[in-house]
């Protein structure tokens, strides 16, 4: 690792001013992605601003119809939360599927969303559940937040404070794991809220998380796995790497979507 300055922020405001001082400073929000990158000398920020000590950034609460999760809430906390299990059980299940216990104990929802790894799980959940990402500056709908591979709508100095989810009537996440990394080779989050049906796909797309509109339309007619019979995802949109070809990923998107719908229906 290259040398850098470490700043433990005590408030969001403090973190923002620390970032302002260091042109290429980075936020540490768990560190499971950033620290390995730095250790391999693939990234060399001049400063790391640790949000871990900002107490009010972590926490889960049901506020009216919204489930609010603080940006520094760990995956383990989301997975174990009775509030989440009562409000959006599929979200707790998804959080339990991330990494392994050690990763879940350090990794946070804010870190995951801000990084927007094309194989991460949370972006799919946010997109399917029509979440609102609340920063120190504004509220960003998930549909405007994820901009491509590792790209988000966040501006310099902008810090995610919390994420607000609207509980769906039915939802489920199906994940087909990359056997090496255990990230999603294909992950599909399906959510139904009244007539609004969203199918968000992670792991597969060559531009990161995306909504599979054709499946949404088919499911809008009838929310049933059979509605997707014969429907194929576009292989041209899919990622190609040593772990899977675009054709196979496209096939898996269809299979995982059908299975997610079945699971959402309790089948």
């Amino acid at each position: 690792m290259y040398a850098f300055e470490y700043v433990r922020a005590n408030s969001v405001r403090g973190a923002v001013s620390a970032l302002a001082k260091h042109e290429d400073g980075k936020i540490l929000a768990g560190g499971h992605t950033l620290l390995p990158t730095m250790k391999q000398r693939l990234a060399s920020p001049s400063a790391l601003v640790d949000l871990g000590a900002i107490k009010d950034l972590a926490g889960i609460e049901q506020r009216g119809r919204s489930l609010i999760i603080g940006a520094m809430t760990t995956h383990a906390a989301v997975a174990a939360s009775d509030v989440v299990k009562a409000s959006i059980p599929s979200l707790a299940e998804m959080a339990h599927m991330i990494g392994d216990p050690a990763v879940r104990n350090r990794g946070t929802i804010g870190g995951s969303i801000a990084n927007n790894d094309p194989a991460a799980d949370y972006p799919a959940a946010c997109l399917a559940l029509n979440a609102t990402i609340v920063t120190n500056q504004r509220k960003i709908p998930a549909s405007d937040f994820f901009k491509g591979l590792y790209e988000t709508a966040l501006e310099p100095g902008e810090i995610i404070v919390r994420v607000a989810f609207k509980p769906p009537s039915r939802a489920a996440y199906m994940k087909f794991r990359n056997p090496a990394s255990r990230f999603a080779l294909v992950g599909v989050f399906v959510a139904k809220k009244g007539s609004d049906i969203r199918v968000a796909v992670t792991g597969a797309g060559n531009q990161g998380v995306f909504r599979w509109r054709a499946a949404e339309e088919a499911l809008a007619k009838r929310f049933n796995p059979k509605s997707l019979d014969g429907l194929k995802a576009d292989a041209g949109m899919m990622n190609a790497d040593i772990h899977a070809s675009p054709d196979y990923r496209a096939h898996l998107v269809a299979v995982m979507t059908q299975r997610a719908v079945a699971k959402a229906l309790g089948k």
């Binding site: 690792m1 040398a3 850098f4 300055e5 470490y6 433990r8 540490l28 560190g31 499971h32 620290l35 390995p36 730095m38 250790k39 391999q40 790391l48 640790d50 871990g52 383990a76 990494g99 392994d100 216990p101 050690a102 990763v103 104990n105 350090r106 255990r182």
Partner: protein, 155 residues
């Protein structure tokens, strides 16, 4: 910079020039706890697992600056040969170690699991240990050991 943390019940103070120095190296080199092992340095193998404030973490991924003030348990603090932790006793009984290198991570992850979930199912144990790599292929024996430590037998 001076740092203070509690390791295996004793408060330890140390100096580190690098705020980014991973807890693993602090434990191994500055404090002499070589039980946690370096397997990959990237949080991908589990050999460095310690229990921090009650939860298993990868000590290679926790900068000393972020570990400030934490309560750390390493395998040296879990139990002794005379008075082993139930997981340690079960590892011996089931011959769950071979080369012994991943054993630290297996034992610490299992001990943390049982602290949170004293009667896990086999499937839950497998999931909990999915992040711990073992090249000797001791997985089946480790599962048996964890089930034994939980008071159940693996079928």
């Amino acid at each position: 910079m001076p740092y203070t943390l509690t390791v295996n019940g004793s408060e330890r103070s140390l100096e580190s020039r690098d705020p980014d120095q991973p807890l693993l190296y602090v434990l191994r080199n500055a404090l002499g706890f070589t039980g946690p092992k370096f397997g990959c340095g990237l949080g991908q193998c589990g050999a460095c697992t310690v229990i921090a404030d009650g939860s298993p973490i990868r000590s290679c991924q926790l900068p000393i600056s972020a570990a400030q003030g934490m309560k750390i348990t390493t395998i040296e603090g879990l139990g002794t040969i005379e008075k082993p932790h139930p997981v340690q006793a079960a590892f011996i009984e089931e011959a769950a170690a071979q080369c012994g290198y991943c054993t630290n991570g297996m034992v610490m992850t299992s001990a943390a699991l049982l602290a949170q979930n004293p009667k896990p199912s086999v499937e839950e144990v497998k999931q909990a240990l999915a992040g711990n790599l073992c090249r000797c292929g001791t997985h089946d024996r480790v599962l048996r050991a964890v089930m034994r430590a939980s008071g159940r037998q693996k079928t």
